[in-house]
């Protein structure tokens, strides 16, 4: 990462309290890696508005954007201007009680705006003392299927993809990496990773057969619970509920599922990174402000 952050959105309270952060913006040429790694179908601008967080040129590290905000315990605070990853990678971000500051310079070498933001971050993270994560990272976000697909024609070592793409897909799309990317892109809402399938990215054909368009909406969850009452679809619905929730061992009847959904539907979220499951936000759990749209997901909505 370089020494700057993107400046599109500074609405988050961490830019305003207790110290007012007033960055000096500048335009910088869009890095080539942003264009190369851009998985959307739109074109990125030639220049981007950024602000300098620290004075020396070297930054340090950014986190991938894909899935960073797919659970309400995590939020991107600043997108890092970088020369290695995609646009949207996170320079400063919080997950539960930990706020990662991806820049390198100590306070004396931060800009005035950087120092103020650093102080605000300290005050802000204090609010999350004792807060545990709702999910831990244990799966790669679905957009990585599209990101990694172009590599099948560049990397000869097939073992590199052993936990990414099924062997039959590797064979089918050999020499046609774009075809593989499009395969996932067309059904991005149905992508999941199943440990029984070697952990590779798969399209959920069960959901497709039920004419359900996404595996990560609460509406789908509700529909699956409804189908438990349909003798012809109950077995498949039960299998899908086991795939996408952690409650299958707790409930033995459709009524129990309905009651669970009714009690929690406003607090249910789906996380790829957390393991392609639905989770429930506990009552009273502190949720931070969403500063940035989840970049990758927004591309497909």
């Amino acid at each position: 990462m370089a020494n700057a952050a993107h400046g599109e959105s500074l609405e988050h309270e961490v830019y305003h309290t207790p110290f007012k952060v007033e960055p000096e913006f500048e335009d910088r040429k869009t890095p080539a890696n942003y264009h190369d790694r851009h998985i959307g179908t739109d074109k990125l601008p030639d220049k981007m508005k950024v602000w300098k967080v620290q004075t020396s040129e070297r930054g340090n590290v950014v986190s991938r954007s894909y899935g960073f905000e797919d659970s309400p315990d995590a939020e991107a605070i600043a997108l890092g201007f970088n020369h290695g990853k995609e646009y949207g990678a996170v320079g400063i971000g919080r997950h539960a009680n930990v706020l990662q500051w991806g820049y390198f310079d100590p306070p004396s070498q931060m800009t005035d705006a950087g120092r103020r933001l650093f102080l605000n971050c300290i005050c802000y993270i204090h609010r999350f003392d004792g807060v545990r994560p709702l999910v831990h990272t244990n799966a790669s976000h679905r957009l990585n299927a599209i990101r990694l697909a172009p590599l099948i024609d560049r990397i000869d070592d097939k073992s590199f993809f052993s936990s990414t793409f099924a062997p039959e897909l590797m064979e089918k799309y050999k020499g046609n990496a774009k075809g593989l990317a499009d395969y996932y892109r067309q059904d991005i809402e149905l992508v999941y990773r199943d440990s029984r399938g070697g952990g590779t990215f798969q399209i959920d054909t069960d959901l497709k057969e039920l004419s359900l368009e996404s595996n990560r909406t609460v509406e789908t969850l509700g529909r699956l619970i409804e189908l438990l009452g349909d003798p012809q679809q109950a077995e498949k619905a039960g299998r899908l509920l086991e795939r996408y929730t952690s409650q299958s061992n707790d409930f033995s009847s459709a009524e129990q599922w309905r009651q669970w959904l009714s009690e929690n539907k406003d607090r249910i979220f789906f996380s790829d990174v957390g393991g392609y499951k639905f989770f429930v936000i506990p009552e009273g759990y502190p949720v931070g402000q969403k500063n940035q749209t989840e970049i990758g997901r927004a591309l497909f909505r």
Binding site: F19, V98, P106, I122, H126
Partner: protein, 157 residues
């Protein structure tokens, strides 16, 4: 009489307005000069100016009522840079060794700052468990290795 008082009544507010504008202008200039001087001094001391604190509990000295524990870097100057800056803003700032940092060492503090000053991955990582829940800022690449140990999203990839 009316003819002599009317122009005065008209001119008086204008004079007052001009006087106010002059005072404000001088005030701005003095404020700007003061900021310039402060910034110059900050650069010379390599220390930042202290901005005014808003909406956060402070002590009579204007320091934020948070106790900060900061891990040490092999570069002593870097550690001193952090503690010097943080001590100007927070009521208590102490340091502890990075590699041997454990959660129980943070029990008397409000926020932990984990910094090692590393520029590349591969640095040692403190032995923290997944149940670690103290409010923490992790810094740079070493910080992202800590996040990785904790299975958190900013973890190094």
């Amino acid at each position: 009489m009316l003819t002599t008082r009317k122009p005065l009544a008209f001119i008086a507010p204008i004079v007052l307005l001009l006087a106010l504008m002059l005072v404000n202008c001088i005030g701005c200039k003095e404020k700007g000069q003061n900021q310039d001087t402060q910034e110059q001094a900050a650069v010379e001391r390599t220390e930042p100016a202290v901005p005014e604190v808003q909406d956060e509990p402070i002590d009579p000295n204007g320091k934020i009522k948070l106790r900060i524990l900061c891990t040490t870097s092999p570069n002593e100057g870097r550690t001193a840079d952090f503690t010097s800056f943080l001590s100007r803003h927070f009521i208590k700032v102490e340091t502890t060794d990075y590699e041997s940092f454990r959660e129980d060492l943070a029990k008397d503090f409000d926020v932990v700052i984990i910094d090692y000053g590393a520029t590349r991955p591969g640095t040692p990582v403190p032995q923290l468990s997944l149940s670690y829940c103290r409010a923490t800022i992790t810094f740079g690449v070493a910080g992202s290795m800590v996040c990785r140990r904790l299975d958190l999203k900013p973890g190094y990839l």
